[in-house]
């Protein structure tokens, strides 16, 4: 008999007071009994709607059933047949808008906690199998494929191609592999140990990762294909250049892009005492934007010792693009939400240091092309907030490096690489996916794109050699 408890088991978390002082992970994970009891809430529907909500179509009821049966390795096998990064996705996927949104249990109560169960299964597997490698030794099929970027799309694409026998080399511009998983998403949401575990898994299975190679500069795609013998290239180079608002004062000292702030904290470990990378120890911070990146930046600033951190967002609570859970966590930790507020200017002192940000109040008008209600400025509503640091978290535009150095690679007007559903670009043998194609999106969508491209690359190379 299924467990008919209406609510999902809550995720054990650190207390907000403790969180304000540590970069340790916020969500602590289910223990075994909680996981089994949660798994028993699944009705194992004949037509599982949850699966349709999953971008990589994990056989969700099947893995949950294995958890209920306490066959955790069996559950891991089911998940890893579809997902390359279970421990990552169990943490950062927006399940509430995907698999859990369509769960039947959600009609009368809360959906099954699919994400929490995925995390439980992955963590348990990783704890038990540490250092053993996942699979049988790699048997090469003699074909080389290059992957540009070691973020979620690149890792997923590499994993699948490696499994199919390809000799895969990932080229990463930074000094460590993981892309946004290491420079962007903070430790308290995704411990870097978990990312390292995933990249180590790949290298143990025969994938080569070359760090410190900027494709487009150190090597071009043409060189990879014409001189280095790669038969296909997958471009998963991510979202790229941070956007600013083009308001006065954005180049004052104390104004960061979220990318820069998070990179200093996460990748360069500026939060640890031994790091050589400097960062402002801000007291009063305004983070402009309402997405997950804005929440990550705000909550990082708090942990770096800020006394007051505000989110400044021009629309309302309903419109915040961040995951509900992240917004709730931020609120619990004491982040101030200044909604329906839009910055007009950042003001500095005589040394060029930020001292305040002036803003106007907004109201919401008719829905715009994005379907969200359009923010309209209220007259005579100008006011200012005293801050010493401003973090701009209003999105990114694609990096031009690869576009400008690859012959025959078509891009959209806004800079994204043109690719079909399976990742094929205008250039034969070159595939692309993730944020480089879609603009900033989610880890799971990027991973899904990497997997589709892997299948398309396999078909492309097989076809080439069949002729």
């Amino acid at each position: 008999m299924p467990n008919m408890q209406k609510e999902k088991h809550p995720m054990p978390t650190r207390s907000p007071e403790e969180r304000r002082k540590t970069f340790g992970e916020v969500a602590l994970g289910y223990d075994e009994e909680t996981a089994v009891s949660e798994a028993e809430r699944c009705l194992n529907c004949r037509n599982p709607l949850c699966m349709q909500g999953c971008p990589v179509m994990i056989r969700i009821p099947e893995f949950i059933r294995k958890v209920a049966e306490r066959d955790y390795e069996g559950a891991y096998e089911v998940i890893s047949a579809s997902s390359s990064l279970p421990a990552v996705c169990g943490r950062v996927c927006p399940q509430e808008t995907q698999c859990e949104k369509t769960c039947v249990r959600g009609l009368k109560g809360e959906s099954v906690a699919i994400g929490r169960l995925e995390r439980f299964v992955a963590d348990r597997h990783n704890a038990l199998s540490r250092g053993k490698g996942d699979r049988a030794p790699h048997v090469s099929n003699g074909h080389k494929v290059a992957i540009v970027g070691s973020g979620p799309s690149g890792l997923a694409c590499a994993g699948d191609l490696n499994r199919l026998g390809y000799d895969v080399t990932i080229f990463e511009a930074l000094h460590v592999a993981g892309g946004v998983l290491v420079y962007g998403i903070p430790e308290f949401r995704l411990p870097k140990e978990i990312v390292k575990r995933e990249t180590d898994n790949l290298t143990e299975n025969g994938v080569r990762i070359e760090t410190n190679v900027v494709v487009g500069k150190t090597l071009t795609i043409d060189e990879l294909m014409e001189e280095e013998g790669f038969e296909a290239v997958f471009v998963g180079s991510g979202a790229g250049l941070p956007r600013f608002m083009s308001i006065p004062g954005e180049n004052l000292k104390g104004v960061y892009s979220a990318n820069e702030y998070l990179t200093r904290v996460n990748l360069m470990k500026a939060y640890l005492p031994g790091s050589d990378t400097p960062i402002r120890h801000a007291k009063r911070v305004a983070v402009v934007g309402g997405g997950n990146v804005a929440m990550d930046a705000a909550r990082s600033a708090l942990r770096m010792g800020a006394e007051e951190v505000s989110i400044v967002y021009r629309r309302g609570e309903e419109e915040l693009p961040a995951r509900r859970e992240e917004v709730e966590h931020a609120k619990e930790e004491g982040i101030v939400f200044r909604l329906l507020t839009n910055p007009k200017e950042i003001l500095g002192d005589e040394k060029g240091e930020v001292k305040s940000i002036s803003c106007v109040e907004m109201t919401l008008g008719e829905p715009d092309s994005s379907g969200r209600r359009r923010p309209v400025e209220k007259e005579n509503s100008l006011f200012s907030i005293d801050v010493d640091t401003v973090i701009m978290a209003i999105g990114t535009s694609p990096n031009p490096l690869i576009k400008s150095t690859t012959k025959g690679l078509e891009t959209q007007k806004w800079g994204g690489i043109v690719a079909d559903e399976d990742g094929r670009t205008s250039r034969p043998g070159v595939f692309a996916g993730g944020d480089a194609v879609t603009g900033a999106a989610t880890v799971i969508l990027a991973m899904g794109a990497g997997k589709k491209a892997a299948a398309a690359i396999d078909a492309y190379i097989k076809e080439k050699h069949a002729g």
Binding site: H175, T218, P242, N251, S275, G352, L401
Partner: protein
């Protein structure tokens, strides 16, 4: 994969030249481009301009002044030691095509970056007048190298202990007044020097290119830390530069931004010096 130091040489008490084993970078790097390195696993990423390359040997030469913790740590390495990371070439190469007569201005350790530009110009048959300035005679670097690639070489020092007493702008003004007609002036050195070179050449209407060296992290356009105002627009030095039109750059803003972490940098350096008795 660590990168080996093939050669280490002190050019003056504060300036060190190192040849690093980095074949992929050596094959590609052009004058004006830069690399980013990290000395060790807790190290920060710092940009340094490529001073020379030897594609045959697979090596890249960097020249740096030991001013902060990272450059002190780097300077303390010996031949045969390795550094953790070395990536490049980044940024755009200096544009030299079609230039017939150029004044190359180098200030202090900026000469390390000015030299490859002078060398490149000389190699394409351009007339090169190099004007280099130092605080005093003990700090002079690359004199022999500059002379080899320059049609005229003017050395200045602040205190007159070597060459002409005065600033590079004095010498440049004199040459222009003497009737030397330059297609372009390329100035590389401290921000304050580049600011005044640009101010001078604006009076004479001579196109002037400056090489900016702002604070950076990734160097590939991801962080936006290296942004500066050029002609009222925000540009990223790492992907749009590092060379910019000197008449358009907001030098005062750039100087303020470069000082963003001065307190931290001073503290870190002092602590390092105390620990290692430097």
């Amino acid at each position: 994969m660590p990168y080996k130091i093939l050669k280490r040489e002190e050019l003056n008490p504060q300036v060190i030249r190192m040849e690093i084993d980095a074949p992929l970078v050596a094959k590609k790097a052009q004058a004006g481009q830069f690399i980013i390195l990290r000395v060790d696993d807790v190290g920060e990423r710092i940009p340094l301009t490529v001073a020379d390359t030897d594609p045959g040997r697979g090596s890249v030469t960097i020249i740096f002044q030991t001013v902060g913790k990272t450059t002190l740590k780097l300077g303390a390495k010996s031949e045969g030691d390795t550094i953790a990371d070395f990536v490049g070439p980044l940024g755009r190469a200096t544009e030299t095509e079609g230039l017939k007569k150029v004044a190359v201005i180098g200030g202090g350790v900026g000469c390390a970056i000015a030299y490859p530009v002078a060398k490149k110009l000389s190699s394409i048959g351009c007339t090169v007048h190099s004007i280099v300035g130092f605080r005093n005679k003990d700090l002079v670097i690359l004199e022999k190298e500059f002379r080899e690639v320059s049609d005229r070489y003017v050395l200045t020092s602040d205190d007159g202990s070597v060459g002409e007493k005065g600033l590079v702008t004095d010498a440049l003004k004199r040459l222009i007044e003497e009737g030397e007609a330059y297609d372009e002036v390329i100035a590389i050195g401290p921000l304050i020097m580049m600011k005044f070179v640009a101010r001078l050449t604006k009076e004479y209407g001579i196109k002037t290119v400056v090489s900016m060296n702002p604070i950076m992290i990734d160097g590939t356009g991801m962080c936006g830390g290296c942004r500066l105002s050029v002609g009222g627009e925000t540009k990223f030095a790492c992907v749009d530069g590092p060379d910019f039109d000197g008449h358009q750059v907001d030098f005062d803003e750039a100087m303020a931004r470069n000082a963003a972490y001065r307190d931290f940098e001073t503290r870190e350096r002092d602590e390092y010096c105390r620990l290692y008795g430097k």
